[in-house]
Symmetry: C2
């Protein structure tokens, strides 16, 4: 059991983890911290946290584990604020969608990735934001990727792993670089495409009429375009290289497809659609129900 967990940034992810840990009595005390006392009051009222602090020095004092639930663009500033107040035994982890940038932030503040700082990323979420949208089951049967450094403290790694397992997640490890490449492909690129599609249509003259005739497929396809813009801005900026590489590959394929449509090259078009359907159906068969 964790004696005191400090969650800095009690939003959808931080709030859901707090709820999950409370459900299994995994923590003696959960301290919620952040800039917005309104969000913290909501978290307190919902029973998601036991204590709220807007002062980060007070928030981290005596914490066994600190979890950073802030957007990745805010990680370095938060680390800089808490750094003077950290006890040597304190374990730090985070939930950021980009791991290279989080490691770089830690290096900028501490000179290296501290052995008791275990970067993490739960592959879970919804298009909603804020503690009001949090729920204890968010991580059930979801993957959590940890990207510990070569010098990671085994006990700190085990503790962070234990926390996510208590929330029902399957924990795995990979390198920072591989994480950022995989997530650029399966998460960051799709979000950019969804935002771009909706923005493209919203800028058309007759956009009201266009949205009126959108069907269920459009609703599913664009769900992720209802995600938090600031959070996704941070992710794009902080996983720039891997994301740009994926964008380049995608744009190239899209150009080839447009060329096939323009020239009536049906064979190429059909082959691409068939490969996509086979891959998607096979992924759904393997990794859960359709």
């Amino acid at each position: 059991m964790i004696k005191r967990l400090c969650i800095i940034g009690v939003g959808l992810i931080g709030g859901s983890l707090a709820r999950a840990l409370k459900a299994v009595h995994g923590c003696e005390e959960i301290v919620g911290a952040g800039r917005s006392s309104k969000a913290l009051d909501e978290a307190l009222a919902l029973g998601v946290i036991d204590r709220a602090e807007t002062d980060l020095a007070r928030a981290v004092a005596g914490a066994e584990v600190i979890l950073l639930g802030v957007p990745v663009g805010a990680v370095e500033a938060v680390l800089r604020q808490i750094q003077p107040h950290l006890a040597p035994a304190t374990i730090i982890t985070d939930v950021g969608s980009t791991k290279g940038s989080v490691v770089a932030a830690a290096e900028a503040v501490f000179g290296c990735l501290p052995p008791r700082f275990i970067p993490g990323h739960p592959i879970a979420g919804t298009e909603k934001s804020g503690v009001g949208a949090s729920f204890a089951e968010l991580f059930q049967q979801r993957k959590v990727i940890l990207t510990p450094g070569a010098d990671a403290d085994p006990q700190a790694l085990e503790t962070v792993r234990w926390i996510w397992q208590q929330a029902g997640a399957e924990v795995c490890e990979m390198s920072v670089r591989h994480h950022d490449e995989v997530l650029a492909a399966t998460s960051h690129l799709p979000h950019v495409l969804a935002f771009t599609l909706v923005d493209t249509l919203a800028r058309l003259e007759d956009h009201d009429d266009i949205f009126r005739y959108a069907a269920g497929g459009f609703r599913d396809f664009t769900r992720i375009a209802s995600s938090n813009p600031q959070m996704w801005h941070d992710i794009c900026i902080n996983n720039r290289d891997a994301l740009l590489l994926m964008l380049k590959r995608f744009s190239h394929e899209l150009d080839c497809l447009a060329e096939a449509i323009a020239t009536g090259d049906g064979a190429n078009l059909l082959a691409s659609f068939e490969r996509a359907k086979a891959a998607r159906d096979s992924y759904c068969d393997k990794h859960s129900s359709p």
Copy 2:
């Protein structure tokens, strides 16, 4: 009540309409027609149709209404086959996702769009195909767009409208050109993007690993990439001009976004994401639950 409805192509759409009409006793007899006797046998066994015909001449004989449920690429060939066997009073309609190409097919076969041919398109469907996936409620509270010609027979138009209303749909009318532009934006472009994304990822070396870490957002975003490749091939080829125009606009916006990411132009990125989220949230508020 329709005395005899002939559905040529008893798949997801044709089968669902047949089920819906049976549920409200809207037809005395539903004749299913198509090339595949296996699919027709399945439709018979499921009670979706009353009679099956692989011979189109026999299928359309005595039909009050003929509904073409075949992929848009097959419309002209089917019209050519049934043309010699049509009674003057017979009403024809279709469910194709591209209306310009259907009107062109009718003009190629009949010399003009016959007044009793009312092109139609139900804005409904799933990523599944075939009569086995059909269900009577598919069109409940969905829009059906009719694109009647200037010389459309009012009684034929009224009959087609009545059929879809029996299935629970909201029927509206627009020009062929406007239909094709609106659908290129909200349906054809998203499908092309989803197919292209999945194909792009499937062609990466470590695609198995990549799909393993895909989350719920990816599943929703790519659902439409599990759609029928042949049907979408036909749609892309048959709505080429409107689709290419939308692809061009999208690619331009995507290039601008990639440039903003590359240069760290966060303000532009954030503005685009915010516009997209606002448009998508507002569309969901207006047009049904999220």
